[in-house]
Amino acid sequence: MVMMSELPLGPLPDVPEATSDPEALIAFEGRIARGERIEPGDWMPADYRRQLTRLIQQHANSELMGALPEGMWIPFAPSFKRKLALIAKVQDEVGHALYLYRAAETLGKPRTQMIEELLNGTSKYSNVFNYPAETWGDIAMIGWLIDGAAVVNQTIMATGSYGPYARALKRITYEEAFHLKQGYDVTVALATGTQLQRDMAQEAFNRWWWPTMMFFGPPDKQSVHTGILHRWGVKPKSNDEQRQEFLRKFVPKMIELGFDIPDKDLRKDPQTGDWIITQPDWDEFKRVINGDGPMNKERLALRRLIYDESSWLRTALDRHVPLPAAA
């Protein structure tokens, strides 16, 4: 799950940076224009390395933090089947964090440092996980809307220019397809259920509509560094393009399920087929990024606690005596 286009730059990775080299830059941009993937040992501009490290690291953080709101609901899943699916999904999210931290490491920043930056709050993660999951309806909306948005975003990012990230995303989008189905299944069950269930779904829908609109980042005209990121294949499509892709796929499904969309001015442009939305509160977006969301403190505190509590396991693994290798 991702939303990182507008998050601030993290510290520079501790690697010898390629200094400006016009010839190498021309060759690099030529490779990207030909659709070639850039691999870890290749020459790359310092800015490419820095932006990608920031992007992949924040994406990895988001996967790890995204496991928390849903993980809390595992004991309260309404049936055994739902519980098994939710456990599997949460395990997937943590696995995705692993794929992504490994991809980010290939750019030169050690995982230890990245985990430490997450725990001490200097490296960001997607805003959506700083909102509470108040009812089972929120689990439906996270699975359907947030994972739906993530699949749109990640499918686009999987066409990007950096090999290890693109390969990790290929595996991730394959697995996220199950998450999306799971979320849609829960949503359909609630939206076609009893009055109580339908109300629960609608209330959760109201809570998640605006965070979902914020998920892809501020509109293009406010976006600072889309140009070069697009040219270098770091960000194949802009925030607005990604948001449109999501809306085109999901608004018809929302209408079909009878949801009352909180954006009363939402309408389709008859010429382009684009959905015109009321902009969400971008000041709130910035506040939440900077640590002042409803759940920021709690989520990070829990992440630290989990890290602290599992320290004995890492120590044990470090000191255990391996079996002799098979002959």
Binding site: R102, E298, L302, P322
Partner: protein, 155 residues
């Protein structure tokens, strides 16, 4: 929203008074008891305490097939690497066998040398596609031989 998790507990205020019921009532569950601890006393800073080597993971989907590269992970030793590889790369889909290889045991050619894989001459002679139209040739040859035999007038 639910109070400052890092602040010391104020005994005059019941914990969770500002929480919705489903959060407040969760405390029978061990997971959410930890949440209480997290709200009150999770450490402010935790330092990463381990750094293990990288292992490349290869998965065999079916006995007799090739192992294919699935991804990489950190592990303290081969045994743990296999266990973690199972959790990370064989969660779904078939798998009958896993190889793990320390990253530094892999030697690789350089992309700069990719021209060494280019062919200096046309290699169609070692490709089935380099041998075209054989049925037609055979047919034509057969007809020609048949015609000659007819014209030669075997008795």
């Amino acid at each position: 929203m639910y109070g400052d998790p890092t602040a010391d507990a104020d005994p005059s205020v019941a914990f969770g008074h500002d929480m919705p019921f489903y959060t407040r009532d969760w405390h029978f569950d061990p997971y959410h008891q930890r949440l209480t601890v997290a709200r009150r006393g999770a450490p402010d800073a935790v330092h990463f305490d381990t750094e293990w080597g990288n292992w490349e993971v290869f998965i065999q989907e079916k006995r007799g097939e090739h192992h294919t590269h699935a991804g990489t992970l950190h592990a303290p030793d081969a045994e743990m690497a296999i266990m973690l590889a199972k959790e990370n790369y064989a969660r779904r889909g078939p798998c009958v066998n896993i190889w793990v290889v320390p990253e530094d045991a892999i030697a690789a050619s350089a992309y700069e040398d990719a021209d060494m894989f280019e062919h200096t001459t046309d290699k169609m002679y070692r490709d089935p596609a380099g041998f075209q139209g054989l049925r037609k040739k055979a047919q034509a040859g057969k007809e020609r031989v048949g015609d000659e035999a007819a014209a030669g007038g075997n008795p």
